[in-house]
Amino acid sequence: MTSLNEEVFPEQASDIPVRTVTITVNGEKRSANVEPRLLLAHLLRQGFKMTGTHTGCDTTNCGACTVLFDGKPIKSCTMLAVQADGHDVMTIEGLASASELHPIQEGFKDEHGLQCGFCTPGMMLTAKALLDVNPNPTEDEIRWALSGNLCRCTGYQNIVKSVLWAAVKLRGQAAN
């Protein structure tokens, strides 16, 4: 069990209230004792040591912290860890298996859909949520779906291409 209380607040006074939360992260049940005010993004990053979820703004604007919450993209910087109790969370670490990349990851690499990489995990998870419900999106549908995720480097054109690339490959896989 990962206890955030032990790992992140090593010398903290004992009178701070904590709650135990249990979350399915990338298919694996994880528990932690957390302060009620702890944000989900911080539990994932510091408690569960999954640093692929980034925090860019803390104010629900940039989407760098996007994770899939019961399959839907949410901004984990604005959700309390306790709100995630009993739910299913997917982070970027859960997108690929150890040996194989997800087509979205391949698409981002092949179409140069990233530069500094800071927005990339959030972008890819938002793209996954789109492709899960719409396997054949138009460029406009992709742009609209990604409009909650800011990228300062790429100008989005290659991100759109990356998602289209992934959509083609995923459709091919589904057909087989």
Partner: protein, 794 residues
């Protein structure tokens, strides 16, 4: 047979990026991902006032919070002589405020605690008593007689003027204006903006008492400059300082300066003997770290009736905030503003520039540009369009008449720069062709009859990149060269280290391609490492598009040194004299019998196993490169727009970019840089700015007020290229990272102004928000972007 350069990932290959392998898996190593044993967390308490005297600071409640380890104030910093630090422009900046606060968001105190939440609690528990003072938010107020003195901490500073500077030929320019048929005038404001990389700034200072070594992980685009600065400010021996710049989530100039948070975390770590992490929040980043632009222009152009420009007069008033902390060459007070008009053949010009202090965040950083060239090129291209309109000339034709011709290089500009190459007319032609210029003009006339407002905007410019040369360019006296170190291992694999520092530009990919080009070692066999001052050779870092022009050149040069030694090894292996050895990519062979040859890998093996008598073993070297001149890429950006006369909303129809950045190392990455730059250009033209109210409150302190375009608003881009190799760069490259940010904004603004042509509106200051456009259309007058001010203070 010679190797296929594209196959080995050499020059011209759109090689997929090496760094992506970790980024797409969420395995990047950004500052906030680094965790050290026993690490504490620091938060900063910032001033809510833009100008106020600090009457008292009570930290007792903060000390009482369980988990709080240290509370630092300006007084405490002062007792260690660290309350003030030098800036990169020979000014001083407060680390933690002592006497008064001079801008909203200024650092007042720091709390170090077991975690960031407790540190924030600690900040909230500090009670500061302020006595508000009158606030200055623009240059007019700053220069008004009797204006309150912002920098009363400085001896001999009796007003709010930072500098008065001039360049060019004043009397010659006066004569040119006396002979002019027409004088075209335009006043402009380039609004305050912020580079705002997605990742904010941060540091982890780790002082080890046992070894006396200070390691600082830090978001820095220029780690070696930071090491030198820390050595001087903290008076620590330089060899005991190690700066490590990990993966950076973007930089764009924001991560060049030294910020108070870095210094405070270092002192905290020394005092507590534990690692101290500081991660800035977004608001802290936007309101306190290096802003950009904020320059007012008075521009005049002397013209002959036939369209020839006879002379240019420019005056700029720049707002530097409370501390002059621009990162720029020490010789040039307003950066390279005088690079304006470099692509035009203009006999004479004169620029005067005044910088002032205001109660705003310090900075003037080069946001995705070389030191104010963004302002220079924007002013230039807006003035060019206004002049063409004043003469009633076609805007493309007006540019063509005044361009420096292809055969006129090298060309000395009116302000004294030496441009060396370009095909300006050709770039313009490619752009006009791509956008369908003639058709669009017809379409525009047709649309006008039906009450629709279409416009087309052109921006053409050559900008100086790649500072130095070291004769003219230094920062704090450190000459602007760069470096590379290459070690070829026994089996022909290699590691390359440079003094540059990628922030998303893909150095790990492209640098290896230069080595592959020079040595024929496949790019996949080369590791590239940057950012650790203990291992990387001294360099000036990555900004001002200087990495390819300077570090890239150093990489080519060090590769050639390696090749020179490998040639000796080849001669030894082939048992011929060195003169009889020829080179083709990846292989030396005997001139008289080309079948007899050895590969570069075989030479590498010999360097460790079978060197000739008397030869020093090993195959490694380094190179420091001091460029003979700046590089001068050229660009032509064209945008078409439609303005809705009912609302002032404008939509981009098409964008065409023609870039001549010389030889392209990795075309895919070059195009990525251009599209990113165009997006920031569109951002500035349409929505992105930081302004202030009369009280000095920053409007733009978060992404709800400081608007960055999303995928939805951002237009699509069509890219074209022209290649004029740089005559003095070893591989003919010129640099590209910033061209579109620099040249792009004027294309969008010119397009909207073109749509408004005939309405009597000459200028709307950026960003062209729909309410500004609407105001201009309905009131038929220009709209200024100067922040409001309290009339009772002026």
């Amino acid at each position: 047979m010679s190797l296929d350069e594209i196959k080995i990932g050499g020059m011209g290959a759109s090689r997929r990026r090496v760094e992506d392998n970790r980024f797409i898996r969420g395995k990047g190593n950004y500052i906030d991902d680094i965790v050290l044993p026993g690490m504490l967390h620091m938060e900063i308490l910032r001033s809510p006032f833009a100008h106020a005297r600090i009457k008292s600071i009570d930290t007792s409640k903060a000390w009482g919070i369980p988990g709080v380890r240290l509370v630092m104030t300006g007084e405490m910093m002062a007792s260690r002589n660290l309350a003030w630090m030098p800036t990169l422009s020979y000014d001083t900046q407060a680390v933690l405020a002592t006497d008064k606060v001079r801008f909203q968001g200024q650092e007042v105190a720091c709390v170090i605690a077991d975690d960031a939440y407790i540190a924030k609690d600690g900040c909230e528990a500090i009670v500061v008593e302020y006595e508000p003072l009158p606030v200055i938010v623009n240059p007019l107020q700053a220069m008004a007689p009797g204006a309150p003195l912002i920098r009363d901490d400085k001896e001999n500073q009796h007003d709010n003027v930072v500098f008065d500077w001039e360049v060019g030929d004043k009397s010659g320019t006066e004569r040119a204006f006396a002979q002019a048929d027409v004088v075209s005038k335009l006043d402009l404001h380039y609004p305050r903006s912020h580079p705002s990389p997605m990742e904010t700034c941060g540091s982890i200072a780790d002082f080890d008492r046992a070894t006396s070594k200070l390691t600082v992980y830090m978001t820095s685009q220029a780690p070696h400059i930071i090491r030198a600065a820390v050595a001087m400010v903290a008076e620590l021996p330089e060899h005991m300082i190690r700066i490590v710049s990990p993966d950076l989530g973007g930089g764009f100039g924001n991560k060049v300066p030294v910020y108070p948070g870095y210094v405070a975390s270092i002192l905290a770590s020394i005092l507590l003997e534990r690692p101290v992490k500081w991660i800035e929040d977004k608001t802290g980043n936007l309101i306190s770290t290096g802003f950009a632009r904020d320059v007012y222009l008075r521009g005049e152009m002397a013209l002959r009736k036939d369209g020839k420009i006879l002379g240019i007069r420019m005056h700029t008033d720049s707002d530097h905030g409370a501390f002059f902390s621009d990162a720029q060459p020490s010789k040039f007070k307003i950066g390279l503003m005088h690079s304006a008009f470099a692509c035009y053949d203009i006999p004479v010009a004169h620029l005067t520039a005044r910088g002032v202090y205001t109660n705003k965040a310090p900075g003037g950083v080069a946001y995705r540009c070389s030191f104010r060239v963004t302002e220079a090129m924007f002013f230039q291209e807006r003035m060019v369009q206004a002049a063409a309109d004043d003469l009633d000339m076609d805007q493309a034709e007006f540019r063509r008449i005044n361009f420096v011709g292809d055969d006129d290089f090298p060309h000395r500009t009116a302000f004294g720069f030496l441009t060396d190459s370009g095909q300006y007319g050709k770039c313009l032609d490619v752009g006009l062709e791509a956008i369908g210029y003639k058709d669009f003009l017809k379409q525009k006339e047709e649309a006008k009859k039906r009450g629709r407002l279409l416009g087309i905007g052109i921006s053409t410019m050559t900008e100086p990149l790649g500072a130095g040369n070291s004769r003219e360019y230094d920062i704090l006296g450190i000459k602007m060269f760069d470096s590379a170190e290459l070690r070829v291992h026994m089996t022909g694999k290699a590691i390359l280290r440079t003094g540059a520092k990628s922030q998303g530009q893909g150095h790990e990919t492209t640098w290896a391609q230069i080595v592959a080009h020079e040595l024929g070692i496949p790019a996949d066999d080369i590791t590239v490492e940057e950012g650790d001052t203990d291992t990387a050779p001294f360099g000036m870092g990555t900004y001002a598009s200087r990495s390819t022009p300077v570090a890239g050149a150093a990489i080519a040069m060090v590769s050639r040194k390696i090749r020179a030694k490998a040639r000796k090894l080849a001669a030894h292996l082939l048992e011929v004299s060195e003169e009889d050895v020829e080179w083709e990519l990846g292989r030396f062979y005997v001139r008289s019998s080309p079948d007899r040859g050895v590969t570069i890998q075989e030479c590498a093996m010999a360097a460790y196993t079978n060197m000739p008598d008397g030869m020093e073993p090993g195959l490694e070297n380094n190179a420091y490169y001091d460029p003979p001149n700046l590089t001068w890429p050229f660009a032509c950006y064209i945008a078409t727009v439609e303005v809705d006369p009912q609302t002032g909303v404008w939509d981009v129809l098409n964008v065409v970019a023609v870039d001549d950045c010389g030889v392209r190392i990795n075309p895919m990455i070059v195009e990525g840089q251009i599209m990113g730059g165009l997006t920031e250009a569109y951002a500035m033209a349409s929505m992105q700015f930081i302004t202030f109210d009369e009280e000095g409150n920053c409007i733009g302190s978060n992404y709800m007020d400081y608007l960055l375009p999303t995928a939805w608003e951002t237009p699509g881009f069509e890219l074209h290229e022209v290649v004029t190799p740089c005559p003095h760069h070893p591989i003919g490259a010129k640099g590209i990272g910033e061209c579109a940010t620099v040249g792009g904004p004027a294309a969008f603004v010119n397009a909207v102004m073109d749509a408004l042509k005939g309405t009597g509106v000459r200028n709307i200051d950026m960003p062209l928000l729909s309410d500004r456009v609407y105001e201009a259309l309905t009131k038929r007058r220009d709209v200024s972007g100067m922040p409001p001010m309290r009339t009772d203070d002026v």
